[in-house]
Amino acid sequence: MSITGIGSRSSLAVQALVDMRHRLDDLQRQLGTGKKADTYAGIGIDRGFVVGLRSHVSAIGAYDDTISSISVRMNLAQSALDRIADISHTTKSNAFAAPSIQGNGSTLAQSTAFAELGEVFGLLNSQAGDRYLFSGRAADQPAVETLDHVMNGDGARAGFKQIVDERRQADLGGVGGHGRLDITGPTLTSVQVAEDAVSPFGFKLASVTSTLAGATVTGPAGSPAVASVDLVTNPNDGETIQFRFNLPDGTSESITLTATASATPGPNEFTIAPSSDLTADNLQAALTAAVDKLADTSLTAASAVAASKDFFGNPPQRVVGPAFSSATALVAGTSTDTVSWYTGENGPDPARGTATARIDPMITVSYGLRANEEGIRWIVQNMAALAAVTFSPTDPNATERASALNQRVGENLDVPAGMQKVEDIETEIAGAQSALTTATDRHRQTKSALSDLLTQIEGVPTEEVATQILALQTRLQASLQTTSLLYKTSLVNYI
């Protein structure tokens, strides 16, 4: 639109100059900003595309931020899991060494296990920023209680050591409990072994096998199970009878008693008396002694391992009681009476799904962890079982009991087939990590391609603008000079 207000002829000339000046200003802006236009209108037909491109670039930026923050989390989780696996291996090899009880009532393997359990608990409370890595969805809560609370309890809430003690009472059946077995002589010539109740505790009769001549073995049968052996005639020297028991931790132990002619029988031997009813008495006495010893060693160790399964389960299980020695059932501990070792989020879904991140429009990685996942819990509970039991150096059965415990824990730490291992968790996380790496590469390529495209559409080549400025400048100068010349070359000047 032309300017009015001054004479129209000169206004047209001035208008052309003003337009050129505007164009020059615009080119200068282009040179300064590197952008073709400062409005969407000026970008041209590709303006919608540009908006889309920019939103894509911004999304990639957001994905990259996600990747960098979760890769830190994954790396921290991996190193924690590595260390937990290492500790489990160390504990295992320590457990296989011959036990020697120290002055504090613990074996070397136990002291080490306790210290390293502390480290495991620390690792399970690892944080990336303010985020607890092993708490499932409850990322703002520590994954596990303090080791002190877990082992020793917290006020009214029972800790693991108390659970082990209660379970020990329930499994052993108190003084004269014979590991919850009744050993009697119902007839003159027979010996009977009976479980005292239907319960998860104590010895469970598995089998009785005998090579004793003239002996009749019955059972084990019934519920509670009963087995008996009737010495109809006397056995011969060197013949044996074997009682096999299942223990609460799933292991089994057997007692083999050998008939001997010697009047002073060694351990696990019984003297053949002149009559079979007297021999039966000897057999009963030998069996009772052997059962009591087995209760004090293997059963006690197995009880501790079983207690660890109870306590570290969800919810924790504990023996109904007091009067634990005659208990027949387990009950779920509540938050008021039992310390819950895992304080993170529990859910029925797999732990990995508790933390997911979108690293690409189509790719989501799952890297959630729960401290009570089977693979981790298994290590924790076995180490805790090892650490919780103490021995008196004066107890004659102490070494054997320690060895029974060591052996069980050692074998358990060779994770049974089919059970999740810490290494399995690590592999799953590593899968997610490799997805991050490929996504990062892809993002880098896409981003550079998109940015190039954006620059092509929105940007202006500096050389071109500079050339245009030069050309325009020349034109403007020429126009100004011509205009001035035109105004000067008026007839007015020549009259």
Binding site: M1, R9, G48, V50, A62, R137, A139
Partner: protein, 622 residues
Amino acid sequence: MSLTQSLATAMAGLRTTQAGLSVVSANVANAETPGYVRKSLVQISTAAGSLSTGVRVDAINRQLDQYIQRQMRVESSGASYADLRAQFYDRLQSVYGVPGADATLETLYNDFMAATQALSTSPDSASARGAVLSAAQVLTQQLNGMTADIQGLRSDAELGLADAVRQANEAMQRIAQINQQLGFATANEATTENLLDQRDRYVDQLAQLMDINVVPNDRNQISVFTHSGLQLVGISASTLEFDAQGSITANSQWSADPAERSVGTLVLKGPNSGDIDLIANRAIRSGQIAAYLEMRDQILVGAQAQIDEIAAGLARALSDRTTDGTAVSFPPQAGFDIDLTGLLDGNSVTLTYTDNLSSTQRTVTLVRVDDPTALPLSNAATANPSDKVVGLDFSGGMASVISQIMSALGATGLAFSNSGNTLHVLDDGAANAVNVDAVSATKTVASLTGGSAEFPFFLDASASYTGAIKSSGSQITGFAGRITVNAALLADPSRLVVFQTSPLTPSGDATRPNFIFDQLNSASLTFSPQSGIGTTGAPFSGTLPAFMRQVISQQGEAAEAAASLKDGQDVVYNSLKERFNSSAAVNIDEEMANLLSLQNSYAANARVLSTVKEMMDTLLRL
């Protein structure tokens, strides 16, 4: 012939030359006067009998090409229309900001999505939650600001109109005055020509404001009409009246009904005719006034509708929960139950059924309307082009609701009943003329911890945004100016993650953050064709970012088109003006040349005088 006659003739020559000089001097003096048309002197010889006896000034003519002048006026309306439109579009473009700059809708939306993405990675992080809220706040502030800017532009258009009307009235008055003066003047005198120059200037001014028709009559007078034939000026002038409104909001709209109109309207008051509303009659199609009107009532209203749609999309995407009805069967009848508890004003129930007689599927949308004066609703109340919309007043209870549905739908064969707030929709059973295919209800979630991912992230000031329809208009109008982040959410950012309190959602649960991200990024929404994107028959359906791209593209395109229209008009107008000037403008060189020849002619006449004097002296000395 006598010497005295020669003396008189030479004197006449001197007089004429002096008049010529005065014309030249007037031309030179007015060379830069706007509207001044070059004058030229027409002289004729006077004769007595067979002898030429002298010379006299016959007329002072204006050198102009009337055809081009008429053409130029038409184009000047067009040029000022295009120019003002381009100016407004340019200002509207600045509302959308510099592409890619920090404070643009696209950047802020991208930032909001990035913040949400970060939150879904770290739902427990207080800083991630804060970042989402502040990104959302900046986004709503941007929408609020854009609304204020757009309404500011509308307000400017309103003021511009008032100003333009004042100028038009002034020009019309002046034209009428000059018409009257010309009635007494003699043609072709210098004063007459100057009056014509002045009048042309006022007509030109008027032509810039609106498209006019100029009809000349005898005695040099003119009548001015609007394009539609309404007389603006004759011997006396009509008056334009414009009742400018002080404050313009998104809800201020022009309407033919004075009771509903909340912006100014343009009324022509003739000296001897009634009032005529020029907007209602579409009497003005070009010029600045037309551009102002188009901006105020269409373009800017459309731009506002677009960002309102964006705001409404944001709010609804996060707060609307659609639940399907449960299938029920009372043999031989079958149908669906839908719970209407919590159905807010503006929420809707969608019912799809098949008319077995014509085997066509039909959709009915039942909308809760709490303002009974807004009833009945038109089918255009929803974006869906093929549904029948029934507005329901819930104040009379469910029984009344059911009778409203029945009377609105007529004889469809569908049976409606209720138990409590549950609506049963059943088919006609054994007759099998109709089957109910689906029933669903879309409700706006009003609680932050209602147990679902949906939640009221954005509010209309402090109320839920439901798209409620009132007699004064829909809630969507101007929503972009009122949208805000829920204050309860700002007070407790944990609600971005916690969607239920019992059992308490764990702080690391990404359900809600993922929902927000998915809705913002990929949820498909249908947008009203009132935004100018999509048509009534095929409304635009897509994600929020896609709609935003469309908006930005469309606005950019429109602005670019307006700019090129302006450039085109300028070229046409300027070339016409150039041509007009080639005859009408004062050329100093030409005037100087005339001056020289006048000087010569003056000298020659003077020479004749002195020669006659010598001859007289000679004669007297005889």
